[in-house]
């Protein structure tokens, strides 16, 4: 019978070309079982391309069959993510494997646009995705995702509205315009956490949370009360924006929430005629930040009129114009995010055991 080590070693020979790393280090191997000469595992897919996924699957099968003593191999492709589980269940939303806040220091950098496109790109891989619009001051997810109906009451709580395969809940569904302004910090914070818990999310691989900009009470409370896998920071290339984004990073550091990566939005403008890239907002802000905080730069999203137009129209660009450079950049960011989450959860420290 092949040993665990032999099998692991063989799997480490399979490199995902898009990441230049082996599938074990990337955290993509799940539920590995070795019984007699049979090896079975689930291989987590990070992109929707069937060709690329099947290619990787075949490589895994070949690698395993090369191990002495292996007689049968069963590789299943799965779009589902490992859970970040705290072990104790404390702060977890039942059924939700990973809660990922999308944060920015400054307003208007494209946090909602990024959240919506990431959510859609993740859902395209077959993952079960939710999107919580927690921006009480300016909820825009219903518009970007084209939500037309209000959420219904379910058996135990609120049923999310499903748009483009993503389960959506927005504070905008429940507040009248201007109402948020009247509410004060603690009330808002409580409402949000309650809301997150009252939604019947069902089984989710990822719940993205579009946070309000900044590092106020609302952000802090939500992040303290809900167990998070890690945060994504959105910024624009200006050094000033990056400096403010850094405040968000520091907030998450203090909450011991890992940063999964940085997305630089409106990174450049590509001339349609010449294909030349114009750096309207300067360059390097996000890369410097990523380097300083040892976190990946998940993507650089170009500035493009179609990004705004598709959002305004209720169909994010990832769906509306999948061949556009911005759409491809969002898909790339989603794939990298999947890997960051997979790596993190695969290596997750065991939760502290309390016997008291």
């Amino acid at each position: 019978m092949p040993t665990q080590e032999q099998v692991q070693d063989a799997l480490r020979e399979v490199i995902d070309p898009a990441f230049g790393k082996d599938i074990v280090s990337l955290g993509l191997v799940q539920a590995l079982k070795i019984a007699d000469g049979r090896v079975a595992l689930d291989l987590q897919i990070v992109r929707s391309s069937a060709d690329a996924n099947n290619n990787l699957k075949q490589q895994v099968e070949r690698a395993l069959k090369g191990v002495a003593g292996v007689e049968a191999v069963e590789v299943r492709l799965t779009p589902h993510a490992r859970s970040a589980g705290t072990g104790s269940g404390q702060g977890e939303l039942p059924g939700v494997a990973n809660v990922i806040p999308i944060a920015s220091g400054k307003g208007g950098v494209g946090k909602s646009t990024v959240s919506a496109n990431l959510a859609v790109a993740l859902a395209q891989t077959g993952a079960r995705v939710g999107l919580l619009d927690a921006d009480v001051y300016g909820p825009s997810i219903p518009m970007i995702m084209g939500a037309t109906e209000a959420p219904q009451r379910g058996g135990r709580g609120i049923m999310p509205v499903i748009c483009h395969g993503v389960k959506i809940i927005s504070t905008g569904f429940f507040t009248k315009p201007d109402q948020a302004v009247v509410w004060r910090g603690p009330m808002l914070s409580k409402m949000l956490t309650d809301l997150a818990r009252q939604v019947e999310w069902g089984e989710l691989d990822y719940l993205l949370v579009d946070l309000p900009p900044g590092t106020g009470d609302v952000q802090l409370t939500l992040c303290q009360q809900v167990a998070l896998t890690g945060a994504v920071i959105v910024t624009t290339p200006q050094p000033v924006a990056a400096a403010i984004a850094e405040k968000s990073i520091i907030m998450f550091e203090q909450l011991k929430t890992p940063i999964l990566g940085i997305i630089e939005n409106m990174a450049y403008f590509e001339s349609r005629k010449t294909g030349e890239r114009e750096l309207i907002f300067g360059a390097g802000g996000a890369a410097t930040l990523a380097h300083k905080w040892k976190t990946p730069l998940l993507a650089q999203i170009p500035l493009a009129t179609t990004v705004r137009e598709t959002s305004d129209g209720g169909t994010p660009i990832v769906l509306a114009d999948p061949d556009a450079p911005a759409a491809k950049a969002f898909v790339e960011a989603a794939a990298k995010l999947v890997v960051e989450v997979a790596m993190k959860n695969a290596n997750a420290e065991k939760p502290v055991e309390i016997n008291f």
Partner: protein
């Protein structure tokens, strides 16, 4: 900084924390209660301790310990106090102060007479 692996009961009421650097530290319950970092027990501005030994019942011990995210525990005390969050940092820092505290314990006056 090491991280805790396991938090166990030590003796009747004390707390034993097993750290991932191989060390196990036994924290006297009263010592931990006296070092509660919440706003009622510590002046947020000056950092001065507010809770004093004399304010606590003779027997003060944890009744329950719970996780707070991945970075802290919340201890529910027999004196009904539970507002303090003990982060891993705080607990690790406290490990070094246990011996001093034990050395400083004075026997109640009546027992000296």
């Amino acid at each position: 900084m090491p991280k805790p692996i396991r938090i166990n009961r030590h003796g009747a009421h004390d707390i034993a924390i097993e750290w991932d650097n191989g060390q196990t530290v036994a924290y006297p319950a009263r010592f931990v209660r006296l070092n509660c970092p919440c706003a009622q027990c510590e002046d947020e501005v000056t950092g001065k301790r507010i809770v004093q030994d004399s304010m606590l019942p003779i027997l003060t011990y944890p009744t329950k310990i719970e996780h707070v995210g991945r970075y802290a525990i919340q201890i529910f005390w027999s004196d009904s106090h539970s507002t303090g969050l003990f982060t891993w940092e705080k607990l690790w820092e406290l490990a070094d102060k246990i011996d001093d505290w034990k050395g400083s314990i004075k026997l109640p006056k009546h027992s000296l007479q």
